[in-house]
Amino acid sequence: MPSEPALRCRGLRVDYGDVPAVCDLDLDVGPGEIVALLGPSGSGKSTLLHAVAGLVAPSAGEIWLAGRRVAAASASEPPERRDIGTVFQNFALWPHLDVLDTVAYPMRRAGRSRPRARADATAILDLLGLGQLAHRRPAELSGGEQQRVGLARALARNAGLYLLDEPTAHLDAHLRAAFLGEVRARQRDSGAAVLYATHDATEALALADRVALLDGGRLLQVGTPSQVYDEPVSAAAAALTGPVSVLSARVGPAGDALLAVEIGDASDTVAGRASGPPHTRQVLLRPEWTSVGGPFQGRVEAAWFRGSHVDYEVRSPAGRILVRETDAPRRAAGETIPWGIRRIWLLPDEAAEPQPSAAVAPG
């Protein structure tokens, strides 16, 4: 029997004043699934999470939690009656409560006695390795500790769905990794679903079962990390998940499951299929789908050394392209280098025109 999704949003719209912050949004989060909400700041991630948590009322659309409708245009259930735990971006720890009482707070609200709530809070703190901080106040905690206390407080709700609103935005890189490990481990233990907002593509792709790309309050694409990375629906969607070059090139079939890509006077073949006669199309190239050496020639405009590899910004007749070499930088700006392609992603022909309604439904 297929169980109900932990979260289902249908036609969701939230307005701030006259500006829609979230618009026409359909999204499902399955039971036990981690969905990352990836988008730049101002794209509506926090608004969506606040609407799901019940902190803002949607102006249109519906929200369902585990098969129960909690928000519609007519009425919105208050946050305390939703089975949700939330981790806030700015930690939002209460300055007048120590760590133990902070974590005990949701349990007190659930009706447990003070001693009982404190005992249960201690168990959660020990699980997260925060036991020794139990009697500190937020002002006496480091950023990483504050955010782990925030996570502990959310876990104390023992909910079916957890919302994490850019929880690592204020953390250093090493704390970020530790925090993500913690989230993963807790999610495996509890089997709860997670909706995780972030503007960091690496974090979203590494952590999530599925990634939802959000821009300007609308979903651009929802899919597995490799789907959204390798098969983006638009150049905008591709740019959200990592560096990408967009070029106009003449592409046509070149025999069995092969494509010919013409740039200037030269051409190269890659695996792939295309219908119709050769014509000029929008081609997406991830830097790692290219290499130094190949049929094309281009002038190096800049070289970006990234440690494990170097990206050359190369000028070609089809546009600027990032060409990757897994080596130390050996070419300088101004040199002409040969380059080739191993793989491409063709944008659908109609996507050349801006068509926001072409967003792909989840599934």
């Binding site: 948590a53 902190l55 946050p79 305390e80 939330t86 806030f88 209460w94 949701p106 609200r109």
Partner: protein, 551 residues
């Protein structure tokens, strides 16, 4: 390096000026008062029955007013925080109105509105006898004090209670009510406690309202006793009385302030600089938001607008007791009061207020800057301490210290104003310096501005609202002032507020009302342009607190 030497010289000069001012305005008067009290037969005075009654009344009024006004002010702050409240911007201004109106005018306007032969009596036949007496004193003082609680709670909500904290409580399963009880109010506690202390001390030293509403019913407080002793009594015994009462007043204030300061100061200092609050979402307007707005509007109407209208009506009505209809209108009251005495008093008031405000902005700026240097911190604290010394006490102290040279001159009143209001000028400027980010200063220096240029181009524009706010605040307070000037004035140095008070004591209803209207109009004429300027500045920076404090 000459520049460094010059800076050091300027600092020494500033310290010298502040040192001299603190000595002259604070140390000498208080020392003289203490000495005078040892000479006086304190024991005899304390045993006289009227004194303990007055002290008991003073404490009772202060306790009840604090207990009523602070929760009301906090409730208003919480209501007016909600963006969906109808007419929110107007209401935010309106609820501060009872603080802008001088205490004397507020008290007197209530009698014109609600007492026997007042507005409601002549229109509806309803009047409130309890208004003249302890209950009336408490109610009107509470109405006057509510905006203090409102302003401090609002400031506390802005700096301490970010919306995230309440959201976190709601997301943890708390109902709106539980979130208020377990998160918002505890977080606001230091701000509310500070509001309580401030209200308590301000009520202790309040004079005009007990004088207008209490004295006619035989209800005396320490401040009205001091006034009676100094203004009406002429024998040495009544002067001794006044000295002792003045000391008693400051002792009661100290009993509350010292422990409060020990407990509160570290908490208020540990205030986190709030993270920027996200945009507040406009919730849907329900019948509740309309009901809340209507309640607030009705409150302002009842406690301030209606009394002020009654006051205006009384000022243009031919005789007491006539219904306020157009047939009975006259400008005779205004013509009667616009004589040599009034215009002279008006000139005195304006001269005093301008001189006090201008000197105080300089002193306040000096003490605010010195507060940030190790050498001047103690001095700055001493300068601002006098704010909590009750006005009556300070007036008696100034009279003892300087009376023999300046008795009955405007200078004597000016000295008292400078001593009393220094903190009022110091605080907005100090607050603006606190919020002034060092980075902006460093960026100016790094962009090639020498210190004088950086002061002119970066500091002054940024501090201008605070300086203006400090000026307006002290100017308005000096115009309000009646406690000290009523003790220190002579026929040569009457202020407008004193003229109004005397007129009321003579029982001239029409002329008193006319004078009160004039005084209020003068205040509004000073406050409204400042308000407009403050709003213009807000768009570009956020010095709201400084100027909001002024209003």
């Amino acid at each position: 390096m000459p520049g460094r030497a010059r800076a050091l010289g300027a600092e020494r000069l500033a310290i010298g000026v502040v040192l001299l001012a603190v000595a002259a305005l604070v140390v000498v008067p208080i020392a003289r008062l203490a000495k005078a009290s040892t000479d006086a037969s304190v024991g005899r005075v304390l045993r006289s029955p009227g004194i303990s009654t007055a002290a008991w009344h003073t404490v009772l009024v202060a306790v009840v007013v604090t207990a009523v006004a602070v929760p009301l002010g906090a409730a208003m702050a919480l209501l007016l925080r909600r963006p969906e409240l109808p007419a929110r911007r107007t209401l935010r201004v309106a609820v501060v109105l009872p603080l802008v109106v001088p205490q004397f005018v507020l008290g007197y306007s209530w009698t014109e509105a609600y007492a026997r032969a007042g507005f409601t009596d002549s229109v509806l036949g309803i009047h409130w006898d309890g208004l003249i007496g302890p209950v009336g004193v408490i109610v009107v003082l509470a109405v006057n004090a509510v905006p203090v609680g409102y302003l401090l709670a609002t400031a506390g909500l802005v700096t301490r209670a970010q919306p995230e904290l309440e959201r976190a409580a709601r997301a943890s399963g708390a109902t709106a009510w539980t979130a208020l009880r377990t998160v918002t109010l505890p977080v606001l506690r230091p701000a509310l406690a500070a509001a309580g202390v401030l209200t308590f001390v301000a009520t202790l030293e309040s004079f005009a309202v007990p004088q207008v509403l209490g004295t006619p019913a035989g209800f005396s407080t320490l401040t009205t006793r001091i006034y009676a002793d100094l203004s009406l009594g002429s024998d040495p015994a009544s002067f001794t009385d006044a000295v002792t009462l003045a000391l008693g007043l400051v002792l009661i204030a100290a009993l509350v302030l010292v422990p409060a300061d020990v407990v509160l100061a570290p908490r208020l200092r540990a205030e986190r600089s709030g993270q920027p609050a996200g945009p507040a979402q406009r919730q849907r307007r329900t019948w509740r938001s309309y009901a809340a707005a209507a309640t607030l509007g009705g409150y302002v109407l009842l406690v301030a607008l209606l009394p002020l209208l009654a006051l205006v009506a009384a000022s243009i009505t031919r005789a007491v007791g006539l219904p306020p209809t157009s047939g009975n209108w006259t400008l005779a009251n205004f013509r009667a009061v616009l004589n040599g005495t009034t215009t002279g008093a008006l000139r005195h008031s304006l001269e005093l207020a301008v001189a006090a405000a201008t000197l105080l902005v300089v002193l306040g700026a000096l003490s605010a800057v010195l507060e940030r240097r190790r050498s001047g911190r103690l001095l700055a604290t001493a300068a601002t301490l006098t704010f909590v010394i009750p006005g009556s006490t300070l007036a008696v102290a100034v009279l003892i210290a300087y009376g023999r040279w300046f008795d009955g001159t405007l200078t004597l009143i000016l000295v008292a104003y400078l001593a009393k209001l220094w903190a009022l000028a110091h605080r907005p400027i100090s607050g603006a310096l606190d919020r002034f980010p060092t980075a902006e200063w460093q960026a100016a220096r790094a962009s090639g501005a020498a210190p004088p240029t950086a002061v002119r181009t970066i500091w002054l524009p940024a501090l201008a609202p605070a300086l203006l706010g400090a000026w307006v605040l002290t100017f308005v307070t000096a115009l309000h002032e009646v406690t000290m000037s009523s003790l220190l004035y002579s026929t040569r140095s009457q202020t407008l507020a004193v003229v109004v008070l005397n007129s009321q004591e003579l029982g001239d209803v029409g002329p008193t009302a006319a004078l009160s209207v004039l005084l209020t109009a003068l205040l509004l004429a000073a406050v409204l342009p400042a308000w407009a300027v403050a709003h213009a500045c807000n768009r570009w920076r956020a010095p709201r607190q400084e100027v909001a404090g002024a209003l």
